[in-house]
Symmetry: C2
Subunit: 302 residues, 2 copies
């Protein structure tokens, strides 16, 4: 292979960069395996903590969580889980105060939403044992209100591998890799971000001529321009924002990432705050924005 | 609902903006329905042309295609289809010359890869009739070489709706919409872009400290930074680029979109050409880039 004249990175160095944490499948542990107790889970390397529900670091993300079914704000829909962070809960799973992303474990699971690295999910309890239920992506992390009115850290997890196109990629890529670079059968590809669009969003983008309402960038691809429709109050459970123009911004891909992660916030007077710098949102007379949705967006990120 | 003081866009105006073409499901036509001939397909509104294999416009994208099984460069894997453009084919489906995206129908199907709007796929032939096989996303469009050595327009289509998380969203959103805004049962959400990452890509991003190798942007979200790993020779069939550092760039989301769509090209001396402006690719001594992959990337876009 020809190559540009730069020193090659040693494979071992590259591995060391990414393998300090233990993400993904654990070799030899198939989905559905049941463990008698937390010690067994720990020894198998599936969940490397005996007490904590979340294993991981703020810097790298979470590698696994235990879903005990005892917390009043958790929702388990099978392939979709709404998970609650830790802190201010009594022994019966009742919330007794506020939570925050300052907590390192709560922050770790939020980091997984940034990195796209999958999280092992274990369901179970002391009484019934613990079942390894496969890999999930943390597709959203936000501050929400629990049933008792406290502010809690919430996460939306979706099961990996239910998308056939991803499975297809995994297979074809595994065949390409040098032997020994990945454990056999280990998942290689993860989803980092899915950009969805709607018919209504197309209309909004057209109004703004595909120019970002925050930074004014217009991404041009020949005669075509590319923009993304960002829902202010997110679509889908549990936010259930509506798919209407008043809830959509026309953004470039970069500002969309920052907006979805809360690094861009927009005040009711349409002042945009991005990393401490304020600019004014670009508007168009035929596209009304509802400040109620802006307030919701701010509330889940700050 | 409170709102910022701008005139509301009339729903009818918004509809007119997006409904000139007939994208998505056709009301009353379920997947799997068989039509006797092209006339029946036409009359049902499933494929609104009697001869052409592609219906659509360069500006808006394709609304449907017919896959006849007679073309030597087509590949049909069920939920994944590698489709060939039109032009320079004889009556037996053999390629007799080059194709190009200058052809309006070939351009239309490529536009669908930009918009994310789904395409109806019909499989069949004069002898056996035509079956409506549901909606597919055009996830990639490129110039490739056919079995006879001619340059042909190629497309990768993936079936919609196999991703459970999308299905979940569709259900919850449909429930939110004002009555009459969408035909019942019509698909509302489409996938525009999936950003996938790999372990190897994580290593590359770390080397560059999550700073874009093209435009030097670093997307900061609190203490975390966000970047995307862009495979130069794409992963997955039919490109089958390898998941190795030499085939990966660390890019911001915007430059990733432009690179994947061919609006950013990189020469062997690492000069980046973006909308006619040239800059130098940012490099790091520990991250070697293989020029063979850069040449492949240029070849599929120009």
């Amino acid at each position: 292979m020809r190559s540009f004249g730069l020193t090659a990175v040693q494979p071992t160095v590259a591995r060391a960069l990414v393998d300090a944490a233990n993400f993904g499948e654990v070799t030899g542990v198939e989905e559905g395996r049941v463990f008698a107790d937390r010690r067994e889970l720990y020894d198998a390397g599936v969940h490397r903590a005996l007490q904590d529900g979340i294993v991981g670091t703020k810097d790298r993300g979470a590698e696994s969580i235990v879903l005990s079914g005892g917390y009043e704000d958790d929702e388990d829909h099978g392939t979709v889980i709404i998970y609650t962070g830790r802190g201010a809960q009594d022994s019966k799973g009742r919330q007794t105060g506020h939570q925050s992303f300052e907590d390192t474990k709560n922050a770790a699971l939020r980091t997984s939403a940034f990195t796209g690295e999958p999280v092992r999910v274990i369901r179970g309890s002391k009484a019934e044992g613990y079942r390894y239920d496969g890999l999930f992506n943390v597709v959203d992390a936000w501050l929400g209100e629990g049933v008792r009115g406290y502010r809690i850290c919430r996460y939306r997890l979706e099961k990996c591998g239910s998308d056939s196109s991803v499975a297809d990629l995994e297979t074809s890529v595994s065949g390409e890799l040098p032997k020994g670079n990945e454990s056999p059968g280990r998942r290689l590809i993860k989803q980092q971000r899915i950009v969805r669009s709607t018919r209504v969003a197309e209309g909004v983008k057209k109004i703004h001529d595909y120019r970002c309402q925050v930074c004014a960038v217009r991404l041009e691809i020949g005669a075509y321009a590319y923009a993304e429709g960002a829902h202010i109050k997110p679509l889908g459970t549990p936010h259930n924002g509506p798919d209407v123009p008043e809830n959509i911004l026309c953004l470039c891909a970069n500002c969309h990432v920052l907006f979805d992660k809360g690094a861009i916030l927009i005040a009711d007077d349409l002042t945009v705050s991005r990393n401490g710098k304020d600019v004014q949102l670009r508007v168009d007379v035929s596209h009304r924005i509802d400040v109620e949705y802006l307030a919701y967006h701010r509330s889940i990120h700050a």
